[in-house]
Point group: C3
Chain length 315, copies 3
């Protein structure tokens, strides 16, 4: 019997989701995609719901995606940004969250530089909490939109080979995707500069390849990770140029993957560093589909968490 | 005969309100509270109204409360923030306000570090103006939400004893509350470090107690004021530790008040400074109720100022 | 046969508009003005449309005007601001725009310090683009609101004499207005400090007067340009005081124009620099009408670009 709603109040990580729940979210997103292609891109499903985005790290991209998703479902959205000064004490975060709670929101979407911050809040307040990225931990809606993008093209996730390449150490995107794709039956290989491969990453479900070439050989999907500018020089690897040679995706390396392998990137991309422009803009790139699917997946998550009998209300 | 609407176009201070008008606002807020507990937290009362929040001091808390209140009544909201550079000339403030006026808003909600700024603007433009805090002068919606919170618990304000403790000098919250509670028949006692008790505060309706202990003895309500971090050290009192000893509320001091006395704080709280964590989170604390009532009171004020025949439209 | 809609997807500059298209926009704005004077200032015309304002220069005034215009037509709006760091590469601007495109917006409103940036983006993405000011190039909606304001008073633009005075070199407002008024049959004379009169400005349709007095003599309309504070001292002219003497509009200079000549300014004004307070606030000033008309013109442009069979939907 298929699931028809999420039972939990929060979406904190891929770690907590069953394969059935992931499938439910992807199926719901698939159904909702059509709304964003209409002349009137809006349904009344979440009218009168209050959704707060509460971002302690700047991100217009993810915040806007959530905001568009919410408004296409007719919810009211409110945006709060936290200055870094208020991060030092978990106490302060909680007090702020409790203050928000007292204004009767239905859902609080949190991005925070500290791993576990959304979980800490979610346990202590009644409204639902969505983790929009916590430190180096998880970014579940990113992994969901990535899975949707791949499933759209291949019709399945099961049995595919996904390669994730780059700064694995700092990447919550990598962590959520390793868990998500593994749960759905894909094989995940990762590669990156040795200083940026976290120990025990194989326990999440990934196999560590010694080189990028080995990771992407025969892959159905190559997911490149963003190199943070502030980490480009110094401690982790010698130079941008060297990084691009060993861990950048260009046409030559891409030829090692399957013929119609997909190229993905969570954005924003550093052209010429982790990905060459011709590959980023080439026929195998689905980077813009990822963004489009981001809105659909976030609509699905909002709907399933606070939409009541969601399936019936969406039309 | 009961009042059924406010006759003025602005809400600038508690000073200008009659007891009947205060009662009208509280009664309306009481009626509107239920909207925020519905599944669909929205009524069409203020559809097509344009409300601008124009904040020259940062305050996500108060601004979000107004924004939520406005959207639950279906108004459109627009947020402007003023950089401190544009504060130096009243002329500039007025020019900006006139520019806003030319875009036909129904209401402008102003927070400004200069006492009297909202009044200055209100006299010169046609749309209504709400004072969301002006310098060390007034913060009327805060006092209204505080009165609503107390009236909810005791069923009345008349005859109660309220103690306000802390930095009275810099507190517009204290000023508005002293006037509000006095007008409604409560007795207000205040206490604070001598350097932070403004002269002539008794003319607003408060009695100055020599010690915190004396102020709160037998009180029905204790309202603690926030200590501004930038004032904690130096000119006004010797140290945080000393402040907490003499003017912080802990369980021992709380025992001096009536048995079921309410503990209030306008937020954000400094745990361990003006209030101990166990009291802030304890059974007598109504701090979160204050926040919830903030939305209701602001809905009431918006409705009464620009809602036309408000009482009829609210359902 | 009158035009009934714009055929292009973008509004990038007055340069691209025919006189018929300008007339269509002004006529539509005229019709829409009435909405902003209603009790319920909102029509459902653009319900379900997604409009993004994407401003790389700070401007609460113009952004708020677009935002109010959009919401009075029931569109959903999303605001992005670009930090100056992301301006250095056109590539990055395009990547960001493509990301927005992938979220299926109907219209992107761009302000950017680089001339031509909105055109660069518009050619490469499907959604419509409105130029809300690009470098020293164009600011078409400002010129349209200025033309609407003048036409309101005189019933026509044809045959009028317009004087534009001030920093012509840096002014996109001047450039768009010279082209717009010229196209509509007005005669445009300009004057400014020699260092701030760009060469070849006459090719846009303006005649350069040797002095401010000569430019405004017999004018029907005087449009004063804002002096940028950062340009007040130094390279371009000796002092604020000298600027005001030679290129500021006071009552004495105003007497040189026609008796009921209009005084305009795009705002924000520097009182006592390019315009004296008594003239700015005097009976001939239409500065506030310009702001009011800004909302109407922007409503018209939004409607004509993305409103479908707009004329039929507006009521």
């Amino acid at each position: 019997m298929p699931l028809i709603s999420l039972t939990q109040k929060d979406l904190l990580g891929i770690e907590d989701l069953t394969p059935e729940e992931i499938k439910l979210i992807l199926d719901t997103a698939e159904m909702l995609k059509e709304i964003s292609r209409r002349e009137i891109k809006k349904v009344p499903t979440l009218r009168g719901k209050t959704i707060v985005t509460f971002f302690f790290e700047s991100s217009t991209r993810t915040r806007t995606s959530f905001d568009i998703a919410a408004k296409r479902l007719s919810a009211d959205t409110f945006s709060l940004t936290g200055s870094s000064s208020s991060l030092t004490k978990g106490e302060t975060l909680l007090d702020t969250a409790r203050n928000l709670e007292a204004m009767n929101p239905d859902l609080i979407i949190i991005r925070h530089p500290a791993s576990g911050a959304p979980h800490f809040v979610a346990e202590r307040i009644k409204p639902g909490v969505i983790n929009a990225g916590d430190g180096m931990h998880e970014h579940p809606t990113q992994a969901l939109l990535d899975m949707l993008t791949v499933r759209d093209r291949f019709g399945r996730l099961d049995g595919l080979k996904l390669a994730i390449v780059g700064d694995l150490f700092h990447s919550r995107v990598a962590r959520s995707n390793i868990m998500g794709f593994s749960k759905m039956g894909a094989k995940v290989m990762v590669a990156g500069p040795p200083s940026l491969v976290p120990p025990f990453i194989q326990h999440l479900g990934a196999e560590v390849a010694p080189t990028m070439e080995e990771a992407i050989s025969g892959a159905d999907v190559i997911m490149m990770l963003r190199v943070q500018n502030e980490r480009l020089q110094g401690a982790f690897f010698p130079s941008v140029r060297e990084y691009a040679v060993f861990y950048g995706l260009d046409r030559k390396k891409l030829a090692l993957a399957k013929e119609n392998a997909l190229v993905m990137h969570p954005g924003p991309i550093n052209r010429g560093v982790e990905i060459s422009p011709d590959v980023a803009d080439g026929p195998q790139s689905v980077i813009m589909d990822q963004v489009t699917n981001g809105v659909a997946v976030r609509m699905a998550v909002l709907l399933l968490l606070i939409g009541g009998r969601a399936g019936e209300k969406a039309n």
